[in-house]
Amino acid sequence: MTSALGLPLRRPSVLPGFGLALGFTLVYLGLVVLVPLAALVLKTAGLGWAGFWALATDPRTLSALRLSFGTALAAAAINLVFGLLVAWVLVRYDFPGRRLVDAMIDLPFALPTAVAGIALASLYAPNGPIGALAAMAGLRIAFTPLGIVVALTFVSLPFVVRTIQPVLEEIDRELEEAAATLGAGRLATLRRVILPTLVPAMLTGFALALARAVGEYGSVIFIAGNIPYVSEIAPLLIVIRLEEFHYQAATALACDMLAVSFALLLAINLVQAWSRGRFGHV
């Protein structure tokens, strides 16, 4: 089997079932994912450039996008710091309940977002236990952008921990011993030997957390208060536009967000390619 360029389309193999497996994969993927996504692109193309631009730069849309990005960046940054801390503690130190803590990290993946949403709303509302404490300090968390950051921190918590953990486990302790025998203090070793090897994993984890947080819907809508121009996130605005049967506006906003998701996906792949080239691992 050769293509027009003379490159083999596939390397010969004695195993059977290539045609069936790949055929089924492509048909299924096409019907479930690619054709529906193509419908989105077609609908957007139908708006025309001027129509798309007017909808994509509508002030309420821009405000929702800014809020979604700002809060997602804040949540990813919080998780970068605490994710590094949690991964470090789990890999390097032995303490009672370590395995339980390790298993709990994946809770945000397993807990449905709507459940997380109402739980966080009840905790952080002004009459909830944490909300009441914050209110005494003069701080409102629920129904403000701060509440959105709390929800996004919850849902994107596992990403940084789970990308740093395996890399940290692979680091050879002999490197640290070598650094120490050459006169480096512990802090210098951490900063100049360990941290640089973790940078690709930290970047990947940060980007994954950001990508998840930008698109998150279920956990946010209960705690956000959903006030237009103040605490209305982009995915919610898509839902609102759909409920108003304003499909064009929903489509344009979805296209904005898809472009961002693809940019993040590309960034993650670039970081991983760079890391493979430089460190031999992701």
């Binding site: 009840s122 919850f154 512990r186 979805a254």
Partner: protein, 290 residues
């Protein structure tokens, strides 16, 4: 390994760790962060659910709308999980056992649903099958309902859970190579026999792991399903949507009662997942060991 030690003020400690005080402070900081962000919300679900007592809890769950939501959620997961299991096996067989052009693009496309907002995953089906959608008029003429009906919910769920099984199987089957299958073929086994007697037993724990995660997401999906469901009580409400409706009606006790069932599902998933990781970690892919 870490027998190199520095004498610091008389006490000897390995150079590759921190002082005890620093270690304790870091562990404490991590545990407090996780307790505040993970454990507290989970505890809040159960505390709120049982606020009205056991009788109130049971009454909320036996509510006909709640029962209908539970049935629909089970139905949707019972369709989406097997569908994505077959897809995952086919995709992993093609990607891991053969070399062909465009393979990395295919792997990226399989992961695509994870990087798309769940709301958009629902929206694309509305744009395709909805009343104003591309196929809407044709579907209406033929009396087929997809959006605001069960087929739409199933499709949206399949979309968001599509990668789970495939992304567990692909790295594992790539690690395992094709040696076993080639040996079986050379001994005279047919293609399907090789698949069922050699490949499938080699990947069974990873398959179970993928299905477990797929099921948790299928039962808990909210955003995508919310867009296509239309929120018709006892017809198109899954459990997460029922939680939302009850919560927005200020029926908090009932909302948290239904939510506690989903939280219980999440805990069972975590326990089974951990058991698989601890007992069969060697039989999962490197990516699945955490």
């Amino acid at each position: 390994m870490s027998d190199v030690a520095l004498a610091a003020g008389g006490a000897v400690r390995p150079v590759t760790t921190e002082t005890r005080a620093v270690r304790r402070a870091l562990v404490a900081a991590a545990v407090v962060f996780l307790a505040l962000f993970l454990v507290l919300p989970l505890a809040a679900v159960f505390a709120e659910a049982f606020r009205a007592g056991l009788a109130g809890y049971l009454a909320a769950i036996r509510e006909p709308d709640a029962l209908a939501a539970i049935r629909l959620t089970l139905l949707v997961a019972a369709i989406a999980c097997p569908a994505n299991l077959v897809f995952g096996l086919a995709a992993a067989w093609a990607v891991a056992k053969f070399e062909f052009r465009g393979k990395s693009l295919l792997v990226t496309l399989i992961d695509l649903p994870f990087s798309i907002s769940p709301v958009i995953s629902g929206l694309v089906y509305v744009l395709l099958f909805g009343a104003q959608g591309l196929l809407g008029p044709w579907l209406k003429a033929h009396g087929i309902e997809i959006i605001f009906a069960v087929p739409g919910i199933v499709l949206a769920t399949i979309f968001v859970t599509l990668p789970f099984v495939a992304r567990e199987l692909i790295p594992l089957m790539q690690e395992q190579g094709s040696g076993d299958e080639e040996a079986a073929l050379s001994l005279g086994a047919g293609g399907w026999k090789v698949f069922f007697l050699v490949t499938l037993p080699n990947v069974k724990w990873a398959l179970l792991y993928g299905v477990l995660l797929c099921n948790a997401r299928a039962m808990g999906e909210f955003g995508a399903v919310s867009v296509v469901s239309g929120h018709i009580r006892s017809l198109t409400n899954t459990m997460p949507l029922q939680v939302e409706i009850l919560y927005n009606e200020y029926n908090f006790a009932a909302a948290f009662a239904v939510a506690s069932l989903l939280a219980g599902l999440a805990l069972v998933t975590l326990v089974l997942k951990s058991v698989l990781e601890w007992r069969y970690g060697h039989a999962l892919s490197a990516a699945g060991r955490h």
